[in-house]
């Protein structure tokens, strides 16, 4: 469903991604781990072209993103993204945050969008916050709204860029619970995370990235219990 072929990305002189090749199947949950600066976030952001790859291809459902730059907005609808810093729209209520894109992009009528938004809020346990502005929410609540907002577009894939890194420790759990419930419903997901316990529990496959490549990949038990290569071992010994 997602195919990444020989992905390279330069920031000026700095080569951040040095040839990433990946194939992700429908319904798979992939966690990406690795030291900071290894290119995890850049890799994720290339998958919905928030970063334009210097070289290589990203193919989603058989459509190459880089060959269809003109239809980028259309292709991006199928790829939901959740950010480390939530990026809720501060001038809109929670409900308007969620309904904006369905109304403006999918041309859904407002009542329908609102009733779907309420269902999504129910899923993330925040129906009582629909009329609040984001500034009145806690970090964990903001991130749950951000997940609902991305889900409102009915994406085929969800990308999570360190969704719990900006949260106070006591709020990490509530966000991970929501992500887990999406995984159980068969949503295809790619999650960049530092939560190793979560990665082990929720994912079908784990990518360990280091220095711009996927250095090692495998099932959670292969990576966490039995890492084969030295830098994976070294990294895991530091974080576990």
């Amino acid at each position: 469903m997602i195919k990444v072929i020989d992905l390279h990305k330069y920031f000026g002189e700095l080569e951040v991604l040095k040839g990433v090749n990946v194939e992700i199947k429908q319904g798979e949950v992939v966690c990406v781990i690795g030291p900071s600066g290894s290119g995890k976030s850049t890799f994720l952001r290339c998958m919905n072209l928030l970063e334009i790859p210097t070289k290589g291809e990203v193919i989603i459902d058989g459509v190459s993103l880089s060959e269809n730059m003109k239809q980028l907005d259309k292709l991006r609808r199928n790829v939901g993204m959740v950010f480390q810093q939530f990026n809720l729209f501060p001038h809109m209520t929670v409900l308007d945050n969620i309904t904006l894109a369905p109304v403006k992009v999918l041309k859904m009528n407002k009542e329908e969008a609102a009733s779907r938004a309420m269902k999504l809020l129910e899923r993330v346990g925040l129906t009582d916050k629909a009329k609040e502005y984001p500034s009145r929410l806690s970090g964990g609540q903001k991130q749950r709204v951000a997940i609902a907002r991305a889900m409102a577009m009915n994406p085929r894939v969800m990308l999570f860029d360190e969704p719990t890194s900006a949260l106070d420790p006591e709020m990490v759990g509530e966000v991970l619970e929501v992500i887990k419930s999406l995984a159980n419903d068969g949503m295809t997901m790619v999650i960049v995370t530092h939560e190793m316990g979560f990665a082990r529990e929720v994912s079908n496959r784990v990518f360990f990235m280091d220095e711009g490549i996927i250095y090692e990949e495998g099932t959670p038990s292969e990576i966490f219990n039995n890492p084969k290569r030295p830098r994976t071992r070294e990294f895991l010994s530091k974080v576990l």
Partner: protein
């Protein structure tokens, strides 16, 4: 006690004489009234022209399309790098010398061109002060660049822009006081005309200053009200 009442009486007599001489006699107050109307008109027209030019320049700067951005950059640095009184006189005596346009229009154009450069910078910095993550969130939801600007970035940018824009218009109002350089009878010139017929400086000058001060006071209180209304989501 007698000394004090005498002093107050003298002061009153001197002041009322001066006020009579400066404003009442031969209906001289009309210099100020007519001048005031002219100042308001120039400021209003120039503000409109300034906003139009400023928005266009800001868009040109943000788009990062080489020729447009370059032109906008030049415009802003030339305007900001030369005194407004020089710009005004160049436009009146050189560029529009043969145009037969009314002076008030020429002045509005000149001040509008000047203000546009400052407005452009205010708008550009207001837009760029909105966190990049907001654009990314909008685009990742499938909104186009234009939609992201319209529904997400601009509503937030206006909160950054409005106070600075208000200051710019207050500055603009005061800058129009150099309109006398092209022999346009604005409020300041009105005061000067009274001075030149009466040889009395204090009353017309202080009155002119007071009128400007009152106008800027009113402008800033209107703006403060606007800002408060925009703050509902914080």
């Amino acid at each position: 006690m007698g000394f004090l009442t005498e002093f107050i009486y003298d002061l009153y007599r001197v002041l009322s004489d001066k006020i009579y001489l400066s404003f009442i006699k031969e209906d001289r107050y009309m210099y100020l009234v007519n001048g005031w109307v002219v100042s308001i008109e120039i400021t209003a027209f120039a503000a409109i022209i300034g906003i139009v030019i400023g928005v266009l320049l800001a868009i040109a700067k943000i788009m990062k399309k080489p020729p447009l951005t370059q032109i906008a950059d030049w415009y802003v640095s030339v305007i900001r790098g030369t005194p407004v009184v020089v710009q005004l006189t160049i436009i009146y005596y050189v560029i529009l010398a043969n145009s037969n346009l009314p002076k008030i229009i020429v002045a509005s154009i000149a001040f509008g061109i000047n203000s546009g450069a400052y407005v452009a910078e205010i708008i550009r910095s207001g837009i760029q002060a909105v966190d990049r993550g907001q654009t990314e969130a909008g685009r990742s939801l499938g909104l186009s660049y234009g939609q992201t600007m319209r529904f997400i970035i601009l509503p937030q940018a206006i909160k950054n822009i409005l106070p600075a824009l208000g200051n710019e218009f207050i500055a603009l109002l005061k800058e129009t006081s150099i309109s006398g350089y092209i022999a346009l009878e604005d409020l300041t010139t009105g005061g000067n005309l009274i001075r030149s017929v009466t040889y009395e400086s204090m009353t017309p000058l202080l009155t002119v200053a007071y009128i400007y001060f009152l106008m800027t006071l009113i402008l800033s209180s209107i703006l403060a009200r606007f800002e408060r209304r925009l703050r509902t989501s914080d």
